[in-house]
């Protein structure tokens, strides 16, 4: 049985906040159905669906056969009928068998039918590394989703956002790929489900600063906050911007912050080539060129398949690699 209750301020982990969001959405709307592998008695391999089958029954929280295309394809049919399915993919790389259903149907159905058949499906995907997982358990796969029109791509980095953004994603009439940074699942924070959060599509400044801004999201947010703290000793006062939503992208907030500071580093753990950071750097440069004192730099994972767990710390952007990039932001004018 779950020990999570869904009201009142308390301390909770991101996993518990996500569980509360699912529970509250299911309580409020009988159209919300959860389906996936091991989401029933086990409560999911990360326990995000803990207690949902016990409270809502196996029809509302359904243990499916082990076939991701079948899971998402079935969810599409359920949504066509009028339900609001929330699909759990067990790990980032295990979502790949469902990509055809996601790309060819989930992302396109509203468009294919001139708005007559929207698919309000939330696809939850635990993503990213840093948990010591063996291969196929740690991919930062966001670029596949952000480059597919028709999908919203949301990724929380705080406990409060995990709850608020998941509720907003389930309530959205558009399909949402909801990327859960699995290495942040167990981190705790003060959390009040009743506290409003910024909507999907809005970036939030997590730390104000005067020197440069680190633009990041999901699993890299705590790393960037730590880097900003460390940077004080070097004389840099770094701002940290949490994107929260990759699609739709908050050009407005990002450009406002970059223009005010003139220097920016984009940080994510996914591979760099053709990645989200490339798009962000290009957008910022196109829109803020005359406000920039230095090129927008990227700090990303290397362009390699995700490493074995004993080597993953070399791949993931850390404080030092971020500060090295900050040092390369052409500070001559400030000397």
């Amino acid at each position: 049985m779950s020990t999570v209750v869904s009201s009142g301020a308390r301390t909770a982990s991101m996993a518990q906040a996500l569980n509360s969001a699912l529970r509250d959405a299911m309580r409020e709307d009988p159209a919300v159905h959860v389906l996936g592998e091991d989401v029933g008695a086990l409560g999911g391999v990360f326990r995000i669906t803990d207690g949902l089958t016990a409270e809502f029954g196996p029809d509302r929280c359904l243990d499916t056969p082990l076939a991701e295309a079948g899971i998402l394809g079935t969810a599409i049919g359920m949504a066509m009928y009028g339900l609001r399915p929330v699909v759990e993919m067990q790990f980032d790389a295990f979502a790949y068998p469902a990509l055809e259903q996601l790309f060819s149907h989930v992302a396109k159905m509203r468009n294919r039918t001139a708005g007559r058949l929207p698919l309000p499906i939330t696809v939850r995907i635990p993503y990213g590394g840093g948990i010591g997982g063996v291969e196929h358990h740690s991919d930062a796969s966001e670029a596949y989703y952000t480059s597919t029109p028709g999908l919203h791509v949301v990724t929380p980095a705080t406990v409060g956002d995990a709850y608020g953004l998941l509720r907003a994603s389930i309530a959205s009439d558009d399909p949402v790929v909801f990327l859960e940074p699995k290495r942040l699942y167990w981190g705790k924070d003060g959390f009040d489900p009743a506290a409003p959060v910024e909507p999907i599509g809005k970036a939030v400044l997590r730390r104000a600063g005067t020197s440069a801004v680190l633009i990041t999201y999901g699993p890299s947010l705590p790393v960037c906050l730590e880097a900003a703290e460390t940077a004080k000793a070097e004389g840099w006062d770094l701002a940290v911007l949490d994107l929260r939503t990759l699609v739709p992208f908050d050009d407005e907030t990002v450009c406002r912050v970059v223009r005010s500071l003139g220097r920016a580093v984009v940080v994510h753990e996914a591979t760099g080539f053709g990645g989200t950071g490339a798009e962000i750097a290009a957008r910022v440069t196109e829109r803020c060129f005359h406000h920039l004192a230095a090129p927008v730099l990227r700090v990303t994972g290397f362009d390699i398949p995700y490493p074995p767990p004993m080597l993953e710390h070399h791949h993931l952007p850390g404080v030092d690699r971020i500060l090295d990039a900050v040092a390369r932001l052409q500070w001559e004018d400030r000397a």
Binding site: T64, A67, A69, G73, M78, E100, R110, N111, T113, A114
Partner: protein, 379 residues
Amino acid sequence: MTVLDHRHHTGVPGWSPGATAPRTDPAPLLPDLSPVRVLGTPALEKYEPALLRELYRRLVVGRRYNQQATTLTKQGRLAVYPASTGQEACQIAAALVLGERDWLFPSYRDTLAVVSRGVDPLEALTLLRGNAHTGYDPRASRTAPLCTPLATQAPHAVGLAHAARLSGEPAVALAMLGDGGTSEGDFHEALNFAAVLNAPVVFLVQNNGYAISVPLSAQSAAPSLAHKAVGYGMPGRLVDGNDAPAVHSVLAEAVERARGGGGPTLVEALTYRIEAHTNADDATRYRTEPEVAAWRDHDPILLMERALRGLGVLDDALVRESADEAEALAARMRAEFHADPALDPMALFAHVYAEPTPQLREQAAQLSAELAAEAEVQH
């Protein structure tokens, strides 16, 4: 004896009862290896003459629809048309067995089934004309969009049927597939999900012998495609796909079984694609003329005419009425498709999301400016 009973006798441990799905004796699930036939058999006499006349009329109109769409494609009025010429019995039967609350999940070759379901014949063709992906309202017609990626619509049918069953509505979903589609993973996942969920679904495989050019022998080593049902725990049925009353009966039985809580069925209909895969295909590279001739002699309309004349159900009046209806439809298609369709480029941005993103608003403004500049040049 079920597999589990057998296992028990042989001393292999089982699983806890709560975790064990019921397993069925495979024998009743197996398809009969000789396909179900009605035309030319005594079984025909049990059929309502009204149904037989309806099937005949729809076959004739459907054939004309296929022919006219093929001609329009050769004239450049349609982008492409995967004709179901020769497969009309499957097309019309699939639509006729469904009630108003049921759902049809067609593939790209099933436009005629969509039309037989009641969708406007011109709206059903927008995808293939090239002016819009789906011209009809899927919700209003309870007909999913024509599906191009093979077999990917099959799990949608399962999910919809599952949701209907959960809501207590006695609706059935029928998914249409081809022989090539049975090799896709989505086909197998859909069958498995349907059986496990006991979803009210019927899978109709129109086995026309070729996946574009690849013959069935290179597609499957199974005794029949209907046999694939057994491994998932559902019945498989084999039917002569050019025998309209036979296809109707087998599908109607499967639909009613599903509606009554009996679960899914896989139906394999043996048929033939008289035309090439599409206008871009050259079927002479992989099929022989004697083979095509044999199937022309087993044509669904020909079979109906022979049998119904003998039964006294088909008279000259019905032949004439059906031909007139077919010609009227063909004339409407020619008239409509002769004119260029009205196109709205700005609609490209209208339905990507419920609300366009800020980025799409910018891009829409860009296209709008381009259109305005173009209009000025032309002026």
